[in-house]
Symmetry: C2
Subunit: 400 residues, 2 copies
């Protein structure tokens, strides 16, 4: 008996050092259901919250659902129904305290909140397949610092170069897609939450997307970089936290040429509208809208995902339509964008997105002018599941 | 009253969405003490565990110490004594369940375990200063894929290029330092746990280190990349988990030229021993030892940190000294390394490291041969606090 105890003690010590758990969680079962497990012998109530209960595409919402886990021998467990192939997020709650799954090393930070993730692939061509690191050639992802004289600082951005870019003797030039994040995000958002590198690797490997450079700048004018990556304290991100550093010397559209100059100077880039695209989610959709309006004819491919679009000097209480009608100068800029005949103007929106109305009104105006655009509407609201899907679709349409 | 409740409900919802806590934790106080806080009204016992209680340099050990937190109004709190400037790690335990601090967005993964981190800087030149992102020019950090014909796969590595590398018109060539991780680690370990980019940025900005390229390859022969970054499932790392993918087609030293070929082909590199360094921790110290022995004269700067060094075909139960004495062919390789007169051969070890004996015996042999090396011994054992310190010191000694 003493020997047994000693052995158990030793195993425990090793486990503490090298692996912090002894249950498998999450476990993706053969039928596509997922089992979550947590060791918590003293807990009274344990729940799991995630987006997996509302994941059926037809009825998808952005609601997080909470399910009670059931305890046996100190291990709490919950199994979902079979899920469509997707990337799911979840966390546990133990007696009122939210916590991450200690058995799962995969997680994402969205603004200030970490959430565990689990990838389910039921069949090839699932979204879950495109978000996974599959056995295909991989592009490189770099965090680079560039000078932005317009904003008066050096700033950090994420640059994806496709597989083969650095092969010996490769002199190929590539088109460039600029991808903008939303409020509370930073230059890490699209590569981590957005799975941009995995999406591009997989699409390019199948020939569904052209090999391209994808540039993910930081869209907070007064921040040099993501939290912890620059000198302004170890600031904790929150919605709009970048504002704590002041309004910035210029706007993102005004400073956009600094980003493009760095990319065009340091990478093998195909220039011109036919080789230049821009897209973004929420605030980044707004940045896409404003930047393309500021530089008509510069971007041949435009993607506005769940866009926080607005007309400069808008009057509060008036609708997007009313403000657009009142600002003929700005409407003229939009006219110039369409006069330059962009190869693709893509607008995507979730059915239940709180920003639905302004985009609906903008579409109405575009329709009235006879301007061509492609519209994609999906279930759910202002959520990353939609933005990953929009990028997956948009990336297949550009530079073709 | 109804209005108040509504307001509170709304504030709560916003907080849930945008920030998952309402306490500040950790808080670095003006005297260098750190206060940890956790909201857990239903908890019976909450503790904080970290390396902050044994952090006094003279008496440092690698023990993690646990302190009971005290509850008031549902918020548990603990304040340390004033701490030396360092990077500290910690986690909470709520009624027997280990959890991360939901108020702290800074964390590191070490093998399979996440731990929150907090940086304390008491004065400039603290280790904590060198590990922080300060207001200095920043280098770029890239995750690149290269072909390794020797191992029969494409593999991922991390490459740091110093600030200014990508400046327009910069044609400067730079020396290269290869930095190897330990067992259970991967190509992310030195840039994340090791703070390599911050250390180099700060040292270079002060002129204490030469601008250099720092290359952090993956040292697991049968892995393409870190967990989640390649196609072999979403494997959960554990000590030696890379072995589950088989023994590999070759060894790390045999495949090292593939790494160097990619770097020398794709970056502006100064070649030759005087411009080429290699170092590593634990298993990576072993890789450094083996690689330099396989290619005498190739590396002018060698750093073995807490090295897991061993002689090929060692007999079990025999000491490092005995095995070295028995293998005259291998001893000859080491002799060739010193015959080529490396500019610096640096050995570092923690006083209480479990690998102390083999390095002590190796030093004895080097002394007996009259081979010059620099030896650094620090308090504590086989821990990242030592490895960050060794890199900080070693980086100041190379290429000078």
């Amino acid at each position: 008996m003493a020997v047994l105890c000693l052995a158990a003690g030793s195993a425990f010590a090793q486990q503490q050092l090298f692996q912090n758990n002894n249950v498998k969680s999450p476990e993706v079962n053969p039928d596509g259901s997922v089992t979550f497990r947590l060791v918590a012998p003293k807990a009274v109530k344990v729940t799991v919250s995630g987006d997996f209960l509302t994941a059926i595409p037809e009825g998808a919402t952005d609601a997080t659902t909470t399910a009670e886990m059931v305890e046996k021998d100190g291990v709490w467990e919950y199994t979902t129904t079979p899920l469509p192939g997707e990337l799911y997020s979840y966390s546990f709650n133990v007696d009122g305290v939210r916590m991450l799954d200690p058995s799962n090393v995969y997680m994402n930070r969205d603004i200030a909140t970490y959430t565990n993730i689990v990838l389910v692939t039921r069949q090839k061509d699932d979204p879950g397949y495109y978000y996974s690191a599959n056995d295909v050639p991989h592009g490189s992802v770099a965090k680079v610092w560039y000078s932005s004289p317009t904003l008066g600082m050096t700033r950090r951005m994420t640059v994806y170069t496709p597989a083969g870019y650095y092969d010996a003797g490769n002199k190929t030039k590539y088109p460039v897609l600029y991808v903008c994040h939303g409020t509370g995000g930073d230059e890490n958002a699209w590569s981590e939450l957005g799975r941009a590198a995995q999406i591009l690797d997989n699409l390019i490997a199948e020939g569904k997307a052209k090999p391209m450079i994808v540039v993910m700048p930081n869209g907070n004018v007064s921040c040099e970089a993501a939290p912890g990556e620059w000198s302004a304290g170890q600031y904790v991100p929150a919605m709009g936290s970048s504002n704590q550093f002041g309004p910035g010397k210029a706007t993102i559209p005004e400073a956009f040429p600094d980003v493009m100059k760095y990319i065009e100077s340091n990478y093998r880039v195909l220039k011109g509208a036919a080789n230049t695209g821009i897209c973004g989610l929420s605030m980044g959709g707004g940045h896409t809208f404003q930047t393309t309006n500021m530089y008509p004819g510069k971007f041949g491919y435009v993607g506005i995902f769940s866009g926080a679009i607005s007309i400069p000097n808008s009057e509060r209480g008036k609708s997007f339509s009313e403000n657009l009608a009142a600002n003929t100068e700005y409407a003229g800029k939009i006219r110039s964008v369409f006069a330059a005949k962009p190869q693709l103007y893509y607008i995507a929106m979730g059915k239940t997105d709180f920003l639905y109305a302004s985009t609906e009104q903008y579409r109405g105006w575009l329709d009235a002018q006879g301007y061509k655009y492609e519209y994609r509407e999906t279930p759910g609201g202002h959520i990353w599941r939609n933005w990953r899907l929009y990028l997956t679709e948009f990336a297949q349409k550009v530079f073709k």
